[in-house]
């Protein structure tokens, strides 16, 4: 047998691929603009199209898979002071140990916890209540940085991947979940802080942008889906895996608010509103972000 190596491509996730794409897009964007005309609502600019092409290529080899694999190991391993696995103790809503389809059916109300929880909050609850981990230890550094990815991030990525290509189905017919949805909707509308911003200031109307970044209108199912799709996501800037909880916090940061507490009601309710609004639409699993 003669094996010939015909092509070897080293695709650097942040460096090699995007530069040509972006350079082209930037060059295209330098063309003089039509006078005083802002781009139309759903018109996609050159940069967006280039990025979508790049993203499609990256989705085929998303580094999120690395965290998914790590998360699967963590889910099945006996860990914590009580030396039990999440697989044998954690009920995400569909029965103990069931992960298939669980992510798209959160947030939901968990009677054993007496609270509405998104998937990340629920896994944290299981780590604390079933495995015996200390909540404050988890909440101290809940999100990935350039040097550290917490276990909870990998676990969420694994659980989310087990709902790939499934329809979002937040159980809004549960009155407690419906109430969380309505409160989340109020949180999204609440204007305060030095700039009088609410979530809806940026995400309450169609066809708006901040700089080049298109802003999904989270009051519509399609817009809400855009706020759900790709989370948890691998962010190429810095190469970090980040969860939907992190994304909500970063919105509040840009809103000039203080920080929402990790795994809190406020974030769970906001996620109930966001994901619930996208109910019925298809979730594609962990994604890749700029």
């Amino acid at each position: 047998m003669r094996i010939a190596l015909i092509l070897a491509v080293a695709t650097a996730t942040a460096a090699a691929l995007p530069i040509p794409g972006w350079a082209q897009a930037k060059a295209a964007a330098r063309k003089p603009p039509p006078p005083a005309a802002a781009p139309k609502a759903e018109e996609k600019d050159a940069a967006t199209l280039e990025f979508e092409k790049f993203r499609a290529e990256m989705e085929d080899s998303n580094p999120a898979e690395l965290f998914e694999a790590k998360g699967e190991e963590l889910w099945k391993a006996r860990r914590g002071p009580r030396n039990v696995s999440l697989a044998e103790s954690c009920d995400l809503g569909l029965g103990v140990g069931v992960v298939k389809g669980a992510y798209v059916q959160t947030p939901r109300h968990y009677p054993d916890a007496g609270a509405v929880m998104d998937a990340e909050r629920r896994i944290v609850w299981c780590m604390v209540e079933k495995q015996g981990f200390n909540f404050d230890d988890i909440a101290k550094r809940p999100f990935a940085s350039d040097t550290h990815t917490p276990d909870i991030t990998s676990l969420v990525t694994y659980v989310a991947a087990q709902s790939k290509n499934m329809k979002l189905a937040v159980p809004l017919d549960d009155p407690k979940v419906r109430e969380a949805y309505e409160i989340g909707k109020e949180i999204a509308a609440y204007r305060a802080g030095p700039y009088d911003f609410s979530c809806n200031t940026c995400h309450g109307a169609d066809g708006k942008r901040i700089r080049m970044q298109a802003l999904p209108n989270i009051s519509t199912p399609q817009g809400a889906l855009r706020g759900v799709q790709g989370w948890p996501g691998y962010r190429m800037t810095g190469g970090v895996m980040l969860t939907h909880q992190w994304r909500m916090g970063d919105c509040f940061r840009q809103q000039r608010f203080p920080q929402p507490k990790y795994a809190s009601d406020a974030v769970a309710y906001l996620l109930t509103y966001l994901i619930g609004t996208a109910n019925g639409l298809e979730y594609k699993g962990p994604g890749i972000k700029r």
């Binding site: 010939a4 996730t13 460096a15 810095g238």
Partner: protein
């Protein structure tokens, strides 16, 4: 210990398409942390790939490769069921070997 790689290998006609995802920080040695201190260089230096027991790639990589890199390549003459063995060694001597069989 280093985290596992993800290897996907599949026959497309008479060519095997292989994609390898490696978990590695790939620090350039030029980046500063939040406190302003240089983060020491830490990167994969050597990559080898064997397909069906034969060495098909022996490569050197450096700091221009991104964090958690993806390598994709095509191998002629391989067949379904052949074992793909990927190995890397970084500048601190950490190493990792993973394998997968080529899918039909």
């Amino acid at each position: 210990m280093a985290d596992p790689m993800k290897i996907r290998a599949q026959m497309k006609g008479d060519v095997a398409e292989v994609r390898v995802l490696m978990a590695h920080a790939m620090e350039t040695g030029q980046r500063k942390d939040n406190a302003g201190n240089l983060v020491p260089a830490h990167f994969i230096q050597q990559v080898t790939v064997e397909v069906g027991g034969k060495l098909v790639i022996q490569g050197q990589t450096g700091t221009s490769v991104s964090r958690n890199p993806v390598f994709a390549f095509k191998v002629k003459g391989a067949k379904a069921g052949d074992k793909v063995v990927v190995n890397w060694v970084d500048n601190k001597g950490d190493k990792r070997t993973d394998e997968a069989a080529i899918a039909a």
